[in-house]
């Protein structure tokens, strides 16, 4: 069954059809929420709430990209969660120190004075660096850069998802990439060799 038929059935109240749509988009939704919130548990909650909200508000879907409509629910859910965090900041209950008296959550790339351990996974380093830089972006910039650069959505879909005009999306994307570049330059030496910018370009 194709997507439009599933959407039609879901709009008639068939939960089975809607669940099939959920299965099609849940990985993408989870990835977006993870990059927005930088926490897998919160991301899972935000995605579940987004799908519940999507089911309740299915009648408001007026055609167009269903993926963009679902991602709108997810990004709105993430904004709500970020606002809630701002109002009531929480402290994780994990132990702050391990045997070496270092912070458990502290990524090794942040300890610039220490030599980089060889055993550290390269991909994890890159992900940590990117997560750190993404977290420092303003919310609206983060949403745009995650949807376009990480999830590969096009400008029109992102404009629909973020409820922003196309020109705003382009502007936010350009500025977000610039901020990401500035942030990532601080981690150049710590990134794996294949992810480093060539010397002749960076100087």
């Amino acid at each position: 069954m194709d997507e439009s038929a599933l959407i039609q059935s879901a709009m008639k109240g068939e939960l089975e059809a809607f669940n099939r749509l959920i299965l099609a988009y849940q990985d993408m939704a989870f990835n977006v929420a993870c990059r927005m919130l930088n926490d897998e548990d919160q991301a899972a909650d935000a995605v579940q709430n987004a799908f519940i909200s999507a089911w309740r508000n299915l009648s408001t879907y007026r055609g167009g990209s269903f993926k963009a409509w679902v991602m709108r629910m997810v990004t709105n859910g993430c904004y709500d969660e970020l606002r809630r965090q701002k109002r009531r900041p929480t402290t994780p209950l994990e132990p702050l120190c391990n045997d070496d008296q270092e912070e458990m959550d502290s990524p090794q790339w942040m300890a610039s004075d220490d030599p980089q351990p060889e055993t550290t996974m390269e991909q994890a380093e890159l992900e940590h660096a990117l997560s750190h830089c993404l977290e420092n972006l303003p919310q609206h910039f983060r949403a745009v850069v995650v949807l376009i650069d990480v999830q590969g959505m096009d400008y029109e879909e992102v404009a629909q998802s973020t409820q922003a005009p196309l020109g705003t999306v382009k502007s936010r994307l350009a500025r977000a990439r610039l901020k990401m570049r500035d942030c990532l330059q601080g981690f150049q030496e710590l990134l794996p060799a294949q992810y480093r910018l060539e010397g002749e370009v960076r100087e």
Binding site: F18, R56, L126, D149
Partner: protein, 259 residues
């Protein structure tokens, strides 16, 4: 951050990377890319940043987020109630606003519009007023002429009896004296008993119970309360009840939404 490049340049670089430049715009961009070293450097840095972000691994959802029949039924009932309470709260708030506007705004307009004709009539009224009324002596209340009014203002002369004689001479018998009743009471015993039965208002102290009733609980009858409520205008009562209803429904809607 390059100081040489403008915001538009960064927008062009971003658009070019996403394949959004066409025709002459694209040709101009490529030409500048070959001739301008700073522009070329900036382009490569942004391209590199974009490549890094695209290389991020995609995570799998930790579980299925599908909805169950039971949950949907329960949820839709709560959602319906939430909508109902929300609507009721909004309707009450609107009604409250309308009544408030009606009772305050329009009444205020009527009040401000009314003095105009009265003001116009003032000069005529002044012309009509008879000179006899204006020539009447003003009423003077003479506080305790026999004793000095310490702390009551007005100072006090040393010779009060002389001052009183002067007043009596000027205004004759028309001068109303505060203690005239007291004087009458001393003359007739009937008046004296009447005066004793009437509590002197000047001796009343608010907040003190009457003699003999100390220690008794103050009882405000429900009838009295009902009388006070009945004295309130109907619009105020409507506004209070609508405000309360609006708040209660809003609280219920928020509670259901949170759950």
């Amino acid at each position: 951050m390059s100081m040489a490049l403008t915001q538009k340049d960064w927008l062009l670089i971003s658009a070019f990377l996403d394949g959004r430049l066409m025709g002459s715009e694209k040709a101009a961009f490529e030409s500048r890319l070959n001739s301008d070293a700073d522009f070329n450097k900036a382009f490569h840095e942004i391209e590199y940043t974009r490549r890094l972000m695209r290389s991020l691994p995609q995570k799998r959802a930790p579980r299925n987020f599908t909805l169950s029949d039971q949950y949907v039924k329960k949820s839709s009932f709560k959602w319906g109630l939430n909508h109902l309470f929300g609507f009721a709260s909004a309707a009450s708030a609107v009604a409250l606003t309308v009544i408030f506007a009606w009772t305050n705004l329009f009444v205020f307009q009527a009040k401000t519009a009314a003095p105009a004709p009265m003001m116009a009539a003032l000069p005529e009224a002044a012309m009509d007023s008879s000179p006899d009324e204006s020539s009447k002596p003003p009423m003077i209340i003479y506080w305790a002429p026999s004793e000095r009014a310490y702390g009551m203002g007005g100072g006090g002369g040393s010779d009060d009896s002389a001052f009183a004689a002067k007043v009596m001479e000027d205004y004759g018998s028309e001068v109303p004296l505060e203690n005239s009743l007291t004087a009458a009471a001393t003359e007739s015993p009937e008046a004296s008993t009447k005066l004793a039965a009437t509590p002197d208002p000047s001796t009343l102290i608010l907040g003190l119970p009457e003699p003999g009733t100390e220690g008794e609980p103050i009882q405000q009858s429900t009838i009295e309360t009902a009388r006070v409520i009945s004295r309130l205008p109907a619009s105020i009562l409507w506004m209070i009840s609508l405000g309360a209803v609006s708040l209660v429904f809003a609280a219920l809607a928020i509670f259901l939404r949170k759950r």
